[in-house]
Amino acid sequence: MATDQLSATFAALADPTRRSILARLAQGEATVNELAEPFAITLPAISRHLKVLERAGLITRRRAAQSRPTSLRIDALDEAEAWMDSCRVTWEGRMDRLGAHLEKIQGPSGSRGNDRRANS
């Protein structure tokens, strides 16, 4: 997996405006004007956000039309998801080993490992 691409994806997702844009695009293709509508920011600012999203591979913009309708690219999100899955597998394995380790140091009965201090 392209690490740089993934970093760009996560960085792009870190911005609330860009996440809102993605949420809007999840409902379907939209023009820059339509995307700008809910925000109190300028069109150039929206365009800058779109550039970041485009570089991150999260959206595609049609060049043909002047309004440059934008749509969501699902596969970039999939890539981030795949990476997270591998991270999850690593942790599950690590937790298995922690469990085995704890049983070992406490004894099979699950006793606390506390000293049972007798009188002497």
Binding site: T3, L6, S7, F10, A11, L13, A14, D15, P16, R19, S20, L22, A23, A26, Q27, G28, E29, S71, L72, I74, L77, D78, A80, E81, W83, M84, S86, C87, R88, T90, W91, E92, G93, R94, M95, R97, L98, G99, A100, H101, L102, E103, I105, Q106, G110, R112, G113
Partner: protein
């Protein structure tokens, strides 16, 4: 007009794993900061952690460093966690720099919460990428917006 894209859950930006262990919190927590114990359990099956490589400074701003040796391939992975916050036996927050060789492509924030549950301990690990941009944002806002995005994408 294009067709409506298929609604799809947003990817999680964080991995969350939870597990209940049959041991009290104090004992479970020690396993995360005691060098002997780290050497015993942290590495994957194919690796070993030489005890002498484990360096722990268990305090806020401290560190957990060690090396994992994969003998079969003759590879050594150095693991470096900085301790952002430690509250024994409740909480451990670790930060790590990108380590592509062990699959950590981003700065990571790992949060480990230890909660008593019956006779045992519930451990919840949350790990997520931590870019500069994310670091500059209030955690709550970022999480809230993500939840919102996720709800919208799921609907």
């Amino acid at each position: 007009m294009t067709a409506e894209p298929t609604p799809k859950p947003a990817p999680e930006r964080e991995v969350r794993i939870t597990r209940v262990f049959r041991a009290p919190r104090e004992i479970v927590f020690r396993a995360w900061v005691d060098p002997d114990q780290i050497a015993a359990w942290w590495a994957p099956e194919e690796c070993e952690i030489p005890r002498e490589t484990v360096e722990v400074d268990a305090r806020d701003g401290g560190r957990i460093y060690f090396s994992m040796v994969e003998a079969a391939r003759g590879v050594v992975y150095r693991v470096r966690f900085d301790i952002v916050e430690i509250s024994e036996p409740n909480l451990l927050v670790l930060a790590s720099d990108p380590e592509p060789e062990i699959g950590l492509a981003h700065p990571m924030r790992t949060r480990v919460v230890f909660e008593a549950e019956g006779d045992g301990t519930r451990v919840t690990v949350t790990q997520g990428p931590h870019t500069d941009e994310m670091r500059n944002r209030a955690g709550a806002g970022w999480r809230g917006s993500l939840d919102k995005l996720e709800r919208i994408l799921r609907s």
